[in-house]
Each structure stands twice: as C-alpha cells, then as structure tokens.
C-alpha cells in the first residue's frame, strides 16, 4: 500500500483579515505536530450487530484530500461503515467487526494503537448537531484539546478558535458572541460549530454522517461550501441520502446496497462524475436516477 502525502495548500489570498493562515498553521503544528490530509483505506470490513451481519468484506480506498461520498438506501450499512472508520462502531455493546482500517498505512485497530488518537485523527460530524450546549462557543471549539489532554495557552487557543471557525465558515456570524452558549445557535450554525470543533484538533480525515439531513437548504449550502473549502486540507468521507449533494460535493462516490436479508456491500465505486453519468451496474444507475431508494 502506498502512502500519499498531501502538501498543505496555502490560499493565495486570505479572505478574512485577522489571524493569517500561516500563523494558524504554525500553532497547529506546535500543538499537534505535522498534520496533513490522510489516506484512509478500509480493507475487507465485515460488521455484525450481535449475530446479524450488516456489512460483508467491504473495501474502499479514500484518497488523501479528496471528498468521498457514500450513498445508498437506508439500512445498507453505510453509516455502520462510516462509524467503523473512527472506532465509534464498538460503542454499541453487541457490535463486532473484522478487517482493517489503515490511516496512512497504520491499522487503527492494531492492539498498540490508542483509540483516542485514532478518533482525534479521524474526526466525525453527526446527523444531529451535538455541540456541548452549556459551554460557550469558544469553549466548544477548544473542547477537543481538553478532552484529549492537549495543553494550549491562551494565545494558541485564540488563534485556533478563529482559524477553525473561519474554516467552518461560521466566524462572521459568531465572532462577537464567542462567550455565549453553543446551545443558543440555530441548527445550521450548531452543525458548523461542530465542524469547527472537529477541525480544532487538526484531524487528517473528517467523517460526516448525513451532516445536512436536519438542516434547511440555506444551512445545507453553507455546510457544502465548508466542505468545498476543506477539500485538499483534510480527507472527507460523507454519508448522504441526497443525490444532488453527493454529485455537488464529492470527487469519488461509493454505492452501498443490501439486498433483502443479506449484509451490505459496495456495488460500485469510482469518480463521482462517472458514477452519475455512466455507471456499469444497472442498480447504481437506477439508484442515482431515483428509480428506487
């Protein structure tokens, strides 16, 4: 397996005044060491809930810096697959799995690997926005530092908060009320706050589990713009039920399907454009064209 490293791309012109991207990058490397978009490889993933097998030997290569969309009807195992990618699957007591998930070549399920490190490197955005409601917006963004035991001084935190909120495209809306509780924001703002919170710990991969399904169209567009601006800086894997969204935001698409009574598998995957224009499998064609699902 080859490991692709992705150079950090510095935007030619900074759209926001204030903290420069270089200063932010410096603080990030002080706190977290060198971090770059990571390549994530799922190798023969099988998953069970109790006795029921929900995924059968699914393999997928998620290239560094790219946006990969996982599509498919409900119950096909794509959310389970996503949760396996950052070890959230094992929080369900009856859950078990087989296979390997390699981040830049290292299996995150290897016995010597720390689960906290895997989850910090591979962040996750959930369907329902879940900021810490009683915490201020500022504290929400830096919560990951405290939770994972990374010490930062006030200046570093200030830089990190501003940079993360800008990357999540919510800075302008909240910069004057950073001390107010995160629970007071609208749903779309809360979701972008969650994205900022994830970005604050400099993940190499960001997983998104239907991040817009609880949001209105305007907020959805803002989140999609955020995904667009993160392309190249962090590898993104997004589960979505919205075909247009998959088409708009992703470079690669994987189509999951579980036939009645059988575990979920990937039917077809590849470049998003090809998946939508000229898929090889009839079922893919039917699904992306809205014949079923």
């Amino acid at each position: 397996m080859t490991t692709t490293t992705f150079d950090r791309t510095v935007a030619p012109s900074d759209p926001y005044p204030g903290v420069s991207r270089d200063a932010a990058a410096e603080v990030r490397s002080e706190l977290f060491g060198e971090s770059h978009a990571g390549e994530l490889v799922a190798d023969s993933i099988t998953a069970w809930f109790g006795e029921r097998k929900v995924l059968d030997r699914v393999s997928l290569d998620m290239k560094a810096g790219e946006v990969t969309a996982l599509i498919g009807p409900s119950g096909c195992g794509k959310s389970t697959f996503l949760r396996i990618l950052n070890r959230m699957h094992e929080m369900v007591p009856t859950a078990s799995l087989a296979g390997e998930v390699r981040l830049d070549g290292a299996d995150i399920y290897a016995p010597a690997e720390k689960i906290t490190a895997a989850r910090r490197n591979i962040g996750m955005i959930f369907q329902k926005p879940n900021p810490f409601p009683a915490m201020s917006i500022y504290d929400n963004v830096v919560a990951g530092l405290k939770l994972s035991g990374v010490r930062a001084n006030r200046e570093q935190k200030d830089v990190l908060v501003e940079d993360s909120l800008k990357k999540a495209a919510i800075w302008d809306e909240v910069k004057d009320r950073l001390d107010q509780p995160g629970g007071g924001l609208s749903g779309g703002q809360q979701q972008r706050l969650c994205i900022a919170r994830s970005l604050a710990v400099s993940p190499r991969v960001l997983l998104m589990d239907e991040p817009c399904s609880a949001l209105d169209p305007t907020s959805t567009r803002r989140v999609e713009e955020t995904i667009e601006s993160l392309r190249g800086q962090v590898t993104i894997v997004i589960v979505t039920h919205n075909m247009q969204q998959a088409h708009r935001v992703s470079d690669k698409t994987a189509f999951f399907l579980a036939s009645l009574g059988t575990p979920g598998v990937i039917i077809e995957h590849g470049d998003t454009q090809a998946m939508f224009d000229r898929p090889q499998d009839q079922r893919t064609y039917d699904y992306v064209n809205g014949v079923f699902g």
């Binding site: 950052n86 007591p93 895997a118 989850r119 329902k128 409601p133 035991g149």
Partner: protein, 347 residues
C-alpha cells in the same frame, strides 16, 4: 369612519372605527368528561392530603412545643447545651450540632461513594454488571436501619477504631481530628476513646444513604445525551474527559438533589445512631472522640419516660429538626432549579 367598498372578487376587511377597538381575551372554559372529572378529583385530593399531612405535623409539633418553649424562651432553647427539662434548663445547641456533624460525616463518606458507583453503573459496567450492581445497591436500601445499627456497633466499630486512632495520631493537629484524653492517670491513647463517636455514627449513616443518593445520581447520569457523549468521543476524548465534559455537567441537578435527599435522611436517622452513640449534652467538634448526640436519637431515647414539660421539650426538639430538614430540602430544590444548565439547554 370607513365604509365597506365592494368591487371585484376579493374583500378588503374593514376595521372597527377608532375607539371601538377593544378586543378582550375570552375566558375559555371546557365541559369536562366524566372520566377527567373523576381523575382530576382523585389526583387533586391526593395532592391536598399530602400537603395537609405536612401542615398538620408542623401544627402539631408547634402546639405541643409551646409549653416547653414558653418556660424558657426560644433564644435560650437554641443556645443551651444541657438537656434537663425537669429543672427548666434545656436546649438543642449541642444536640443539633451533633445531628448536623453526623450528617456531614455521612455525606463526606456517601458522596464520593455514590458519585463513583453511579458513574460506574452508567458509564463503565456492561449491561449485566450494571443491572446486578443496581439491584445490589437497591437491596442496601431494603436493609432495616436497626440492622445497620447493630452491624455498625458489633462489626464496623472495632474495625474502624484503629483507623480513627491512626487518623487522630497523624492529623490530630487539625482540631476536627483531635481526640483529647481527659484521663490524666492514663495518658496513653486508649481505644475506648474512639468508640461511639460522631465518626462511627456518620460512617454507618453514610452507608445507609448511599442507595438513595446512588439511584438518583444514576438516573441523572444515564440521561446524559448520547449525541454529546459520542461527540466528545469523536474528538478523541478519554472516558474521564467525556464524563467530566458531558455526564457530570448534565447530571449536576441529580447530584445536588440526591445529596440533599441523602442529607435529609441522615438528619432524621434514628435507631442506628441511637445504638451507636454515647449521648452527651455538650459541644463535641472532635468527630473521632467518644460522645455525640442527635435529635432523633434523643427523642427515641427519652420519649418513653417523658410527660408534661419533658415531652413538650422533646416536641420542640422535633420541631427544630423538622424546620432544619425543610430548609435543606427547599434550598436543594432552589439550587436544582437554578443549575439545570445541561439538562435544560438540550432542547
């Protein structure tokens, strides 16, 4: 004055002229179904009965204690340490202090134990383990308090006396842990000095209030939202980090409420304390040394032989305990109402 002009298919509503514009809210009533009528009657009745019983207890205690309080005055009653109603010299200063000290020792032991047990049950134990432990803790509540008393006296006390002695030897410079030895002829520390103390009584009462505190805290911890727990874990949180950030802030109301309920029980505990303590009627802030007192235990001890002013004095002591418990519970609900942050902001 405006007039209605009608032309075309739509209507332009005409508002009443100025001065006539005084809409008032209607009084809404509803004809109750018979079932609802009965239901309302039954639940309202039950609520009223509970409040009335509380009121009657307060009235009864007040009326019966008038005689005792009248002979001496409320001020003297609150500040006197002695208890000899026969000579008209009695007060609850020492007994009330003892009661509160025992309750505080009980809380100091029960609080960390309950928080940790509740966290273990809700956050760490597996399905089977948490069910088992919940049952065991609930069973602790089913043990009669007289059994706790006997167990504390015959088993626990001999076990903890060496610990109490160690504590007072090394930390005796803290006045709370000092054990003065009044026997000049035998100055060496002697185990009997450490028995029947506030500490032993508080320890036993502490174990008795663990179940109620644990079960309230457990319920509040278990309600910590799954979304936020997963959100914390997805940021790379350690389990303790997640608990500190999500579970504890969310369960704060339950922690305070459980603690106050436990404190209420500790203040009112009677028979276990009665069995363990050696009653004295003077301030004893040395919690490890022999001798303390509690209102409930005093009433149990003296009620049988009391009559007239003696009985009235006991009623007055009971009234003081009643008022104290009310204060504790009301401040608890005030604190909970003000600190619902986590549970509240979820919506």
């Amino acid at each position: 004055m405006t007039t209605i002009k009608t032309h075309g298919a739509t209507a332009l509503p005409d508002y009443p002229e100025a001065g006539a514009d005084d809409a008032r809210p209607r009084i809404l009533t509803q004809a109750l179904e018979r079932v609802d009528h009965t239901f309302r009657g039954v639940v309202t009745g039950s609520g009223t009965v509970v409040v009335m019983v509380m009121g009657l207890v307060a009235v009864f205690l007040t009326v019966r204690s008038v005689q005792a309080l009248g002979t001496e005055g409320v001020g003297a009653f609150l500040t006197t340490q002695d208890w000899s109603p026969e000579t008209g010299h009695f007060g609850i200063a020492a007994i009330l202090t003892g009661t509160v000290l025992i309750a505080l020792v009980a809380l100091a032991i029960a609080f960390p134990l309950s928080v940790a047990t509740a966290l273990f049950i809700t956050q760490l134990a597996g399905d089977r383990g948490s069910r088992l432990l919940t049952t065991v803790v609930d069973l602790m509540a089913a043990v009669p308090s007289v059994v706790y008393g006997i167990w504390g006296l015959s088993f626990l006390e001999p076990v903890v006396v060496p610990f109490a002695r160690w504590l007072s030897t090394w930390f005796g410079w803290i006045p709370l842990f000092a054990v003065p030895n009044p026997d000049a002829a035998n100055p060496l520390p002697n185990d009997a000095l450490y028995t029947s103390s506030t500490f032993v009584a508080g320890l036993v009462v502490g174990l008795m209030i663990v179940p109620i505190m644990t079960s309230i805290m457990r319920e509040s911890f278990a309600r910590a939202p799954q979304g936020e727990r997963e959100g914390a874990f997805a940021l790379g949180a350690t389990r303790w980090g997640m608990i500190r950030t999500v579970v504890l802030p969310f369960g704060r109301g339950g922690v305070i409420g459980g603690t106050m309920l436990g404190m209420g029980r500790a203040l009112g505990e009677t028979i276990a304390i009665y069995l363990i303590i050696s009653p004295i009627f003077q301030f004893n802030f040395h919690i490890l040394s022999r001798g303390t007192n509690s209102i409930a235990a005093l009433i149990a001890l003296r009620y049988g032989e009391a009559s007239g002013v003696t009985l009235s004095a006991l009623m007055a002591a009971g009234l003081a305990l009643f008022v104290l418990t009310m204060i504790v519970n009301f401040s608890a609900s005030a604190i909970i109402a003000r600190s619902r942050s986590g549970a509240d902001a979820e919506a």
